[in-house]
Symmetry: C2
Subunit: 379 residues, 2 copies
């Protein structure tokens, strides 16, 4: 063309190839992606309806059923992050005016309550300080007082490092005519969860934590009880993209399954139980090392999330100096707090292939170095 | 562990490596992914806040501004498909009771109307048969009659193969106090679009068409007029994940940018105008070849979408026999109709790196072969 009609020039930076440094990602996610999943991400695409894709989608479903320990029919992967799966769960479970009780001991409960309010639900909050978990008594009191249709609770609260005990919770909810919705984004594969035996009605997770895949595929499953609630809806969910009725039909004829399939691979060769045990053992080693350095853990022993450990910011230090020092001098990412824990804790993630004894030693060594070399104010 | 608590066994299929056949994807999307973008998809992850990621996000923004020909500040990529971007546009633009006029000449207008209804908007439909486009007169009549706050229209209607002319439409809408929302999922990069000069208020696209990337990143941009409507909202959008107010803040500190960045690369070295010209030329060659075979095109010449060509199903043939024959014997995907065009047309996509003269010859040869060898009923 003789005269260009273009008024906005192409950005020259995009002509340079992308440089991605190798870093050890020991924050609360994403975690590192092992070679096999990286390779899957580099494969050619297929179409939605190709026979290989339909086959792969069945395999993904079976993989999620294994990871969740469920036989639910309504089990699939959503095209979005774990946060998108949280919206899918709430968009489908709740209608305007439905009463929901949200257990809040960190940012994820806060977020669920915020989304439920956007949907016009009748939201009650059950509060605990960050670092604490809910007992069955706490929950029962809330159920009796508010008579919710749905209880939201976080299994792995990544902002505070708490692992919420789930035993008996499903049965309790069902005794009170309430559905149990559990967020397992930060815990799935790293700590035991048994969707069917624990009578969890809706369970979801993300791909970029223990599953060591890029974000963008989120496993989710609905029990028969939950499915019945969806079928009884009087209004459609606001989203078409996340409408489980449509997704259930589509599933088998939609998707970008390449890395979703492989995201479940890390769990299969070794098995779920060995994955749980490995996460437990490496978390124990990390906690002991932190205590040996004179640091204080944020969560009491019985409720520690094995995937993300929270340690109090050592006195006299600025947490940002420590995370920046690890990044700049050791190529290791760890994180500060999130939401209610900002400024209070450092968060160290050991998830999936990153949960190794060697990485524990590496991050402990780097922290030692940081405590020696970062600025410390006089106490 | 001595006795396993696991009741659901790991699926053995997931232990086998994934096999992905090489196919030429000449359907309405996804298109093939070139080696450079495949390689980007196989890279290690970085964290949301790493300096390289913030840099890459600025580059993505500049790339989208170039592809859209806009200087809008509120320009970013959503973590989802093009369909997810449609929801993001509608979720943010519309509030309960807002009047929206939806131009429907295929499935995407139908979908937008459906989502707007889920949001409680006051939806009016402006209808044309599939294969036809809207004139300024058609639109003006609708604007005068319904006084909408937003007009939705599809630039590249992939179900019918229509390219909607946009010249004068933005000015017309603004004269009537209406915002112009344009879906360019199937057209961006393959046909000229000038967001600022054409006074488009909200524009979005997807990644798996002309941009030749996996689905999962969707570019979107809002004009100042549109931004003001967002700021005037009385209620929050139902989704937190797609809340543009939050995304605008986050953008620069969230994301999985690897393939998003590289998805814009195909447009940069060659330039937008040469991409448009190449798509036009190869579409013309394809259409001529189809006519030479005695086939009939579904859309009149002035409104043909250069990325997806619709040809009437040849008399006496079952369209499924033809698409299956191409897949099985030539490793080429083409598609049947969608929504209102099911059973009426075959759809051939030539998008991004797939839009080459060689691929036109390949698909024409395969179609010749199919017409010879597929079953034909007596007429």
């Amino acid at each position: 063309m003789a005269t260009s009609l273009l008024r906005v020039a192409p950005p020259e930076e995009l002509l340079r190839p992308l440089a991605v440094p190798e870093r050890l990602l020991l924050g609360p996610g994403p975690s590192n992606v092992p070679r096999r999943i990286q390779a899957a991400g580099g494969r050619q695409l297929l179409g939605h309806m190709h026979p290989e894709v339909l086959q792969v989608m069945d395999e993904i479903k079976a993989g999620i059923q294994y990871a969740f320990q469920t036989r639910n029919r309504l089990t699939l992967a959503i095209s979005g992050t774990g946060h998108c799966a949280m919206e899918a769960a709430l968009f489908n479970l709740l209608e305007q005016g439905d009463t929901v009780l949200v257990a809040i001991n960190g940012i994820w409960g806060q977020r669920a309550a915020e989304i439920a309010r956007r949907l016009g639900a009748n939201v009650y909050e059950l509060l605990k300080p960050p670092g604490k978990y809910f007992t069955l008594q706490d929950i029962e009191q809330g159920l009796v007082q508010h008579k919710p249709l749905v209880l939201f609770i976080t299994h792995g609260e990544s902002s505070s490092g708490v692992l919420q005990p789930l035993e008996g919770l499903g049965k309790l909810c069902h005794r009170h005519g309430c559905l149990l919705l559990v967020d397992a984004v930060a815990s799935l594969g790293g700590a035991p969860i048994f969707m069917d035996q624990q009578e969890i009605d809706v369970l979801y997770s993300g791909s970029q934590k223990v599953l060591n895949a890029p974000p963008g595929s989120a496993p989710i499953s609905f029990s028969e009880r939950a499915r019945e609630k969806l079928l009884r809806r009087k209004t459609k969910p606001p989203s078409f993209y996340l409408d489980m009725g449509l997704l259930a039909n589509y599933w088998g004829c939609d998707g970008e399954p390449r890395s979703s399939r492989d995201l479940l691979c890390p769990l299969c060769p070794q098995g779920l139980e060995s994955s749980w045990e490995r996460h437990r053992a490496n978390c124990t080693q990390l906690c002991q090392g932190l205590l040996d350095m004179g640091l204080q853990l944020f969560v009491e022993e019985e409720a520690r999330l094995p995937t993300i450990t929270t340690v109090k910011v050592p006195e006299g230090y600025n947490w940002k100096d420590i995370t920046a020092f690890l990044m700049d001098n050791h190529d290791i990412e760890i994180a500060g707090g999130l939401g209610p824990t900002v400024g209070k804790v450092l968060r160290i993630g050991l998830m999936g292939c990153n949960s190794t004894s060697g990485n524990v030693e590496r991050v402990l060594g780097a922290l030692q170095d940081a405590l020696k070399r970062c600025h410390r104010s006089r106490l």
